[in-house]
Assembly symmetry: C2
Homo-oligomer: 414 residues x 2
């Protein structure tokens, strides 16, 4: 007889005990398990070129040009559709990437180690705002910035991080949640905490003052600069709770722009997928809901690990960005307590009397109560390369939880 409650407690305890340390920056092919020259990692569950959204296709094209394998859209498309390039989810390689999340063998990635349990996680570097690969842009300027990040910033960050003996991302997040961040869509405090911690070491890691100054400005002026290490840290924490026999805790939730997929701790590596939702939120000037791509990105690993929309009560100022009211922010966190197993020991919410954030979505509760996990998200333009058009709230499709519960019943209860 399976003790589901106990299995879930084990899964969530492991998530909370995980201590993710950002160790260094390295080249994807040297560190990501299974990375190879003809492989592109992407956000969300598995996807083909044929079913891929605009921003996903654009990012694939950009990554192939970046790798010198293609010169334009047509040659890139041909490579992928002819089967010379494989597409696989980041999540199947201990990795995560925001929005399209496309990561190729030559790209530099953050390397996070969960020093409690020893598992590793990886994420690419954040490009900042405007025309960027993760939104499917692939112009020469986009690639030029990627090359600067890869060849100039990456090695300096690697040396700075090693000099600092790593950065404890869980501690950084705990602090940033007390500074109005929720860790997914609002990372203002976390990004400057990150920059401030790195700054003394960056000055020492390069003897080129202009390079040091440019990196410090690039990190400090990008309110998302810490998002990618945070996502890798959340991946390391969530993975620590994966694979617990009998557990109904969700350990992955990710979107590729077409499908959203989840994985469940006790159900191995099977994906349960359904059509992505359309985020509801605030659009930047000149854009409307008609411009929006379907929900996209691995950044929902934050909600999976107990922050993001789950911690929205800590971030009342976020409503200026995603719509809603400060009360709604608190209500969202309160609602997430109903579908989660635990309250986080490391992440607390001052306005709720320092109560721990809701952590560990129990797919049984989602189905029973009809309450789906809330997601805070950026909204991509549906066409490749336009970029971010807004930010808002979105829900996963209900069927993924139902399908997972049926699979659970088949595996454990039949």
């Amino acid at each position: 007889m399976i003790d589901i409650e106990k299995a879930n407690e084990t899964a969530v305890s492991r998530m909370m005990e995980a201590r993710p340390i950002l160790k260094t920056v390295a080249t994807a092919r040297d560190v990501i398990p299974g990375m190879r020259e003809n492989l592109l990692l992407h956000a969300g569950p598995p996807i083909t070129w044929e079913r891929a959204s605009g921003p996903m296709r654009g990012a694939i094209v950009g990554a192939l040009i970046f790798e010198g394998k293609a010169t334009d859209w047509e040659s890139a498309e041909k490579l992928v559709t002819s089967g010379q390039i494989d597409l696989e989810p980041c999540h199947e390689h201990n990795s995560v990437g925001p929005m399209a999340g496309v990561t190729s063998a030559s790209m530099k990635v953050y390397v996070v180690e969960n020093v409690t349990h020893g598992n590793m996680a990886y994420s690419n570097l954040n490009e900042g705002y405007g025309k960027v690969l993760r939104y499917g842009a692939y112009s020469e300027n986009v690639l030029k910035k990627l090359r600067w990040m890869n060849d100039t910033m990456g090695p300096v960050l690697a040396e700075a991080l090693e000099m600092l003996d790593g950065i404890d991302v869980r501690a950084l997040l705990a602090e940033s949640l007390h500074m109005g961040d929720e860790g997914h869509n609002r990372n203002k405090a976390g990004s400057i905490l990150f920059t401030t911690k790195l700054a003394p070491a960056i000055g020492k890691a390069t003897n080129n003052r202009i390079v040091a100054s440019t990196i410090l400005r690039f990190l400090g002026e990008n309110a998302l600069s810490v998002l990618n290490p945070v996502m890798a840290a959340c991946k390391a924490m969530a993975d620590a709770g994966h694979g617990v026999e009998g557990s109904t805790v969700m350990t992955v939730m990710a979107r590729n722009g077409t499908d959203l997929g989840i994985r469940v701790s006790g159900l191995g590596d099977q994906w349960f997928t359904g059509p992505v939702g359309q985020p509801d939120g605030l659009y930047f000037s000149g854009f409307t809901a008609d411009d929006a791509s379907g929900d996209i990105g691995d950044s929902t690993i934050t909600e999976t690990a107990g922050i993001g929309a789950f911690a929205m009560a800590t971030a009342p100022a976020i409503v200026t960005f995603i719509s809603g009211t400060p009360e709604m922010a608190v209500d969202t966190t309160m609602r997430m307590y109903e579908i989660t197993v635990g309250e986080h020991k490391a992440f607390t919410i001052p306005v709720l009397g320092f109560r721990g954030t809701p952590v560990g979505v129990d797919i049984r509760k989602v189905v029973e109560l009809g309450i789906r996990p809330q997601i805070n998200t950026g909204i991509a333009h549906k066409d490749a390369g336009v970029g971010q058009v807004g930010a808002g709230l979105v829900l996963p499709p209900a069927n993924v939880f139902e399908d997972a519960l049926i699979a659970y019943a088949e595996k454990y209860l039949s």
Copy 2:
């Protein structure tokens, strides 16, 4: 017939319209009006050596050793008591300083200009934690750090600030209030915002990588590094509201460890003073209320300008530091609305639906309602040089508001 309401509205509007820009760092004697070799500025209303508290005396001794005018406590005391050294309030020289606030002619100070109205304000540099002059410590290590700040960090900050064309402290504060700061006792977000803004320029302002790295660590690891520029900015804002004929708005509130003094917009430069309170709060390990000095410092210029305890609703995490509950933090802000004239246009509180912070204490309301302005404060040890022993809440003595109201009646209504 004086229209008091209109006068108060003018005073508070001027406070809110003031835009304080941190321009540079300079030597006190070169910029502070009336600064001279035999003058020491200090926090709070006027004080003599005989009536000065332990930390105030220690800071006076330290400043005189720093200036090369004394070698030890005895020689310093002799200089002051014989009348060779003058003691005058910072506030009488457009200046403010935290805790003892002692500022001498050679010390480097932040230079803030209110670019709306043209008035200037100044504050010394923050020394960080531990044994520091502002808590009355004056050992060789304390002076060594002051010399490094003055000779090494000061010039680099000056060049960096000029390179950046200054920093808009009102904008920085508006942002940090959305990141869990209240701007007086919690300046975690503001200090890293400050560090992050300076970082790219610091790297360029010196060709010594070790110096740049040391300054970045010194600023980034000190959660109070922005307090002094914030205080100077609040002084510049409060001064903009001073001198409005007929106004009953408080424009100065400051403590020297023995007396608390206030000034009122329509009552010129007269001080109204009374005995300081004993802060009530949390003590660091090994200390109790018996160790506490009386309330000390000019940092109450923050409450005067509409932040600090007045904005405590934005900073629920502060209660881990000063005692109390997150509800108490909101209640404090709500209570301050009852004794203030306006709601700040630049400083808003997300959890209160982005309502402006209460700004401009009306001394009539304080007396009528018996509600005194709340102060968040650090607590100094009563003996010179021990340092900070805790943090908490304190109130000004009631008589200062009553005395000011009587003076107002005599001036305007007789």
